[in-house]
Amino acid sequence: MRISRGLAHAAMLAWGVVTALPLLWAVLSSFKSDHEILTAPWSIPQHPQWTNWSRAWNEADIGRYFLNSAIVVGGALVLTMLLGALVAYALARYEFPGNRLVYHTFVAAMFFPVFLALVPLFFVVKQLHLLDTYAGLILVYAAYAVPFTVFFLHAFFRTLPSSIAEAAFLDGCGHGAVFFRIMLPMARPGLVAVGIFNFLGLWNQYLLPLVLNSDPDRYVLAQGLAALSVSQGYRSDWSGLFAGLTIAMIPVLVAYVAFQRHIRAGMTTGAVR
C-alpha cells in the first residue's frame, strides 16, 4: 500500500510539473531581458524588466486587443444568455405545435463543424455590411453559442417545479413577468454554469474573428497575440511577446483561482449532458 501511494504521488507530481512549468516559464521570461532569454532559457531573471510589460501593453497594443475582446465577448455573452434562456424556457415549459421541430433545429447545429459554414458565413456577414465591426462579431458569436445554451438550459428548466409559476399566474402575473421574476432566478445555478462555459469558449474564440474581423484595430486578444508572435519574431522582441502572453493568461488564471470550484463543476457538467 505504501509503495502504491508513493507511486501515486510521484505520478501526480510529475504531471503537475509538466503542466505548470511552461506557464511559470512564460511568466518568468516576461521579466527577462532579450539577452537572457536567448542565452539562458532556464535561468531566473537577474534584474526584473518591468518595461517589457508596459511595452507589450502600449506599443504592441495588447491593451487595445484586451478591450476589444471584452466588448465583443461581453456583448455576445449577454445576448447569448438572454436569447438562449428565453428559447430554452419557451420550449421546455410551453406545449405548442412545432415545439420539437424548433428544438431540433437548434440542437442539430451543435453537430455541424463550424468550418463547413465558414465560407458562406463570410459572405452573409459581408452582405450585411458587418465585416470588421463589433456588432457583426457579437451577432455571430451569439448565433453559434445559443444552440448549446438552449440544449443545456432546456433540460434545466424542465426540472424546475411548476407550482410557484402557477401561483404567480393566478395572481395575475403575465408570461414575461413569470419568466423574468420567477423562473430566471430559480434557474440561477444552471445560468451560472452555462454562462461560465460560454464565456471561456467565446473569450478563446479564434477562427471566427480571424475570418470576419481583419481590421487590426479591432483584433480580439487571440488574434492580436497570433499577429504579435509573427511580428515580434521578426523584430526578435521576445521579452515583449512573453509579457504579452502573460498579460493574456493572467486574468483567466486569476478568475479561475477565485471561482475554481464553480468553473470546474460548470465545465464538466456541461460536457456530460
Binding site: 504521488h9 504531471w15 428565453l86 405548442f96 468550418f115 458562406p120 452573409v124 448565433a143 456530460v272
Partner: protein
C-alpha cells in the same frame, strides 16, 4: 392564464430563430450547394460543376496530407489523452485506507491540472512555440541541461517529429479537463464496491479494469467524442505554431487549414466548401460510430 401566451412565445422565440436562420442555418445549407460550384467570390458568377471539386480533392496531395494527419491525430490524441487522464484520475484515488480515498493535496493538483483548459489555443500555441524553439526553448534547454544534447532538435522543422510535437500540445492542453471529469465519475462510484473488491483480494490493477473502468464507461465514451472533434480540428495550434503554417512539407497540414487557405488566400470558395463538406461527413461518421458503441447494454448501479 392563456392570455398573451402566443404573443409571449413569438417574442421569446422569433429573435433567436432569426439569428439562427441567418448566421447558422443558411450558411450550412449554402455550403453544400457551393461545394458543387466553381465560385471564386464574384457575385452571380458561380457555375455548377457537379462533383468535380470532390474528384479534385481525391488527387490534391496537400489535402490528402491533411486527411492523413487528421486521421493520425484522431487515433493518437484521444487515446493518449484518455489513457493519461484515467491513469492520473485513478492515481488521485489510490492510496487511502480503503484503496480509493483521494491522496493528500488532490484538490491542489486538480487546480493546477485544469489550468491549460482555460487558456486560448492561440496562447497555448504561442507558448509551446517557445518551448519547442530550437535555440532558446525550454525543451532543448532541459535536454542539454541533463546532458542529452543528442536528443535536442528542431522540433517543429523536422517532418518526422513536427506532427508529434503538435499532438503533444493537444494532449497537454486536454488531459487536465478529462482528468477532472473522470475523477468526478470515480467519486460517484459507491465506496462499498471498492471495499468488497479489497476483501475479495483484488489488486489495484484488477480493481481498475474490472470495477472502475466499466463504471465510468459512459464518461470515457463522451470523452472520446469530444476529443475526436478536437483531433479533427487542430487549426489554431497548427496555424499559429507550425512553420508555413502547415509545414514542413505538409507534415502538419490539417483539413481546417487547407480549407481556410483555399478560401481566404486563394479565393477558391467552391473548392473550399467541398473540403468543408468532407470534414462534415468525417464528423458525422465519428458521431454515428460513437452512438453505435454506446448502444451496448449499460451497467446500472442499484
Amino acid at each position: 392564464m392563456r392570455h398573451g401566451r402566443y404573443r409571449f412565445l413569438a417574442w421569446a422565440l422569433l429573435p433567436a430563430l432569426a439569428l439562427h436562420a441567418v448566421f447558422v442555418l443558411s450558411p450550412y445549407a449554402q455550403a453544400f450547394y457551393l461545394s458543387l460550384t466553381d465560385w471564386t467570390g464574384v457575385a452571380g458568377n458561380a457555375h455548377f460543376v457537379g462533383l468535380s471539386n470532390y474528384r479534385r480533392l481525391a488527387s490534391d496531395s496537400l489535402f490528402l496530407d491533411a486527411v492523413r494527419n487528421n486521421a493520425t491525430m484522431l487515433v493518437v490524441v484521444p487515446l493518449a489523452t484518455v489513457a493519461l487522464g484515467l491513469f492520473l484520475a485513478s492515481m488521485l484515488h489510490v492510496g487511502g485506507r480503503d484503496g480509493r480515498s483521494a491522496v493528500r493535496g488532490a484538490g491542489g493538483y486538480q487546480i493546477v491540472y485544469f489550468f491549460p483548459q482555460l487558456l486560448s489555443l492561440v496562447v497555448i500555441a504561442v507558448l509551446w512555440g517557445f518551448v519547442y524553439n530550437p535555440t532558446n526553448g525550454l525543451l532543448n534547454g532541459a535536454l542539454r541541461g541533463i546532458g542529452l544534447d543528442g536528443l535536442a532538435r528542431s522540433w517543429l522543422a523536422e517532418p518526422s517529429v513536427a506532427l508529434w510535437a503538435v499532438m503533444a500540445v493537444l494532449v497537454w492542453s486536454s488531459v487536465g479537463f478529462y482528468l477532472v471529469l473522470f475523477s468526478a465519475a470515480i467519486d460517484g462510484i459507491p465506496k462499498e464496491l471498492y471495499e468488497a473488491a479489497l476483501l475479495d483480494g483484488a489488486g489495484p490493477w484488477a480493481t481498475f479494469w474490472r470495477l472502475t473502468l466499466p463504471l465510468v464507461r459512459d464518461t470515457v465514451q463522451v470523452a472520446f467524442v469530444y476529443l475526436g472533434i478536437v483531433a479533427l480540428d487542430g487549426f489554431a495550434v497548427v496555424q499559429v505554431m507550425t512553420v508555413g503554417p502547415g509545414g514542413p512539407d505538409g507534415a502538419t497540414e490539417v483539413i481546417g487549414l487547407s480549407l481556410y487557405r483555399t478560401a481566404f488566400t486563394y479565393g477558391k470558395f467552391g473548392y473550399a466548401s467541398a473540403m468543408g463538406v468532407a470534414l462534415f461527413f468525417a464528423t458525422l461518421t465519428l458521431a454515428v460510430l460513437a452512438l453505435r458503441a454506446g448502444r451496448k447494454e449499460r451497467l446500472e448501479l442499484a
